[in-house]
């Protein structure tokens, strides 16, 4: 005889529902997938958040592939006779300076156009044809030295973005004078990060953080209503933060005088060389830029760093969708009005900032 146990059935049914519910919740839970690689002289890390780990993994791999490609195209110091040497458009442009135009990759072309635009915006305070001066100092090479002033004067004559000829039709680049050379240090990383972000987005990733040695680009928010929290490093104390930014679908890049320092004869020199003087720019300690696009943020952080603080702030305010935070050489903190609400300042003692002065908007 079959016996029917109603109570038992109900209890079992409830249990089954609870188990299914639980599994469902776990299955749709967001997971983080992180991957890191050493590229472009820095550590590049991509963290993605989503429910489909396989998708995150594939998208991340594609993004890294693109960063590697941009890195190869823009590498200025690959060893001669290696495959890397063949792959670099920048090496070819520099070698053909004063000789003939070189047909370049679409992305390299765009980077050069963008860099030229910022040279114009800053009236030459920023210039990617700074290559010969960087070489004179020995940045990016084994040995650094302080150049003689007559050497600097002679070399500075080779720095001029208007003598970089870009042909939109032919997609070619040409440095007019022999001895000229490009240095994409201020744009390549940001550009690569931006391309990686676009690839993640196209692949269906909704939330991500890309960090290429402090060049940061986020996709979406970290969680519903929770923005990505990005600390701004204190330029004089590597263990402290000046403040914390809340980011959503945007990029933050900082240029600082505490980076890639070299000691020559007991003095410290940093790598952000002014194309006007040939010496490291000394107006500011650091400049942080927030924009929608990481390549712009990267270029702008370097370009503004090379300007006097008030001039930099004025340009930052003029540009749309751009926020700027400047730490001046005399430890004043200045920022564009639009940054309020996006930043929580936590500076250590010694920094001066007038909250009211920054409070008109």
């Amino acid at each position: 005889m079959k016996k029917y146990y109603p109570k038992l059935t109900v209890i079992v049914a409830v249990f089954v529902l609870l188990i299914i519910g639980n599994t469902y919740l776990t299955r749709t839970q967001s997971r983080e997938y992180t991957s890191e690689e050493f590229l472009m002289d820095t550590l590049v890390s991509i963290s993605t958040i989503g429910t489909d780990t396989a998708l995150l993994q594939q998208a991340t791999e594609k993004a890294f592939h693109e960063i590697r490609r941009i890195a190869d195209l823009t590498d200025r110091f690959p060893a001669v006779d290696t495959p890397a040497y063949q792959k670099s458009d920048i090496v070819r442009i520099n070698e053909m300076a004063g000789i003939k135009p070189v047909i370049v990759d679409e992305d390299v072309f765009k980077m050069l156009q963008l860099a030229q635009e910022y040279s114009r915006l800053t009236e030459g305070a920023f210039d990617i044809t700074i290559g010969p001066v960087m070489d004179l100092w020995g940045f990016g090479q084994q040995k650094q030295k302080v150049p003689e002033s007559h050497e600097l004067t002679r070399t500075l004559a080779l720095v001029n973005s208007t003598e970089l000829l870009l042909d939109e039709q032919a997609h070619s680049a040409f440095l007019k004078k022999a001895g000229m050379s490009l240095d994409l240090g201020a744009v390549a990383k940001g550009y690569a990060v931006e391309k990686a972000a676009r690839i993640l987005e196209e692949s269906g990733v909704k939330k991500a953080l890309i960090d290429a040695g402090g060049n940061i680009r986020v996709l979406g928010e970290k969680d519903k209503g929770v923005p990505w929290k990005i600390g701004i490093q204190d330029p004089r104390n590597p263990a402290a933060l000046l403040g914390i930014l809340s980011l959503k679908n945007e990029a933050a890049v900082t240029s600082g005088d505490y980076h890639r320092n070299v000691q020559i004869a007991g003095k410290t020199y940093h790598h952000l060389i002014s194309p006007r003087t040939g010496y490291p720019a000394e107006y500011n300690m650091s400049v942080t830029v927030l924009t929608r696009d990481a390549s712009q943020a990267d270029l702008l952080s370097t370009a503004l760093f090379l300007l006097e603080p008030q001039q930099a702030l004025a340009l930052g305010t003029k540009l749309s969708d751009t926020e700027v935070l400047i730490v001046t050489a005399d430890k004043k903190i200045l920022f564009t009005p639009g940054l309020r609400g996006k930043i929580e300042l936590t500076p250590e003692e010694g920094y001066i900032y007038d909250e009211k002065a920054n409070d008109k908007s």
Binding site: W228, K229, I230, L241
Partner: protein
């Protein structure tokens, strides 16, 4: 036979079971996300985790040698702090950086591809640093 499907006692039992399961579920989630795990230092070489070290108040002057991509790196742990003591790299930027002690901070030696940082579980308040 007109027996009820569920008596009052049955309903109570059922409710108790549901509440208990929900409670356990919530508790598990709480422990998994909210409670911080102990502080850990993660050491990576070429993007791969090679070592994780739990820090305690009493961890003093522990020196660890790991093999980087190009050569050895010596890491020192003292209480809650970590630093790179020696590294096989030309610029020694990682050594000059000194101690790190806050979540979110990291020491990165690019030539030797060594990274030290505190585990993300407690670094929740910031996601990255622009520098």
């Amino acid at each position: 036979m007109t027996r009820k499907l569920m008596t009052k006692a049955d309903t109570k039992l059922l409710l108790a079971i549901i509440l208990l399961s929900l409670f356990v579920f919530a508790l598990l989630k709480f422990y998994a996300t909210v409670l911080p795990t102990e502080r850990q230092v993660v050491i990576k070489v070429s993007g791969e985790v090679v070592k994780k070290i739990s820090l305690q108040e009493g961890t003093h002057l522990q020196k660890i040698t790991i093999e980087g991509k190009k050569g050895p790196a010596i890491i020192e742990i003292k209480g809650w702090k970590v630093r790179m003591v020696e590294a096989f790299c030309p610029d020694k930027l990682c050594v000059k950086q000194g101690w790190i002690s806050n979540p979110g901070q990291s020491i990165i030696c690019v030539p030797n591809e060594v990274v030290l940082y505190f585990d993300a579980a407690e670094a929740n308040f910031i996601d990255a640093i622009t520098h």
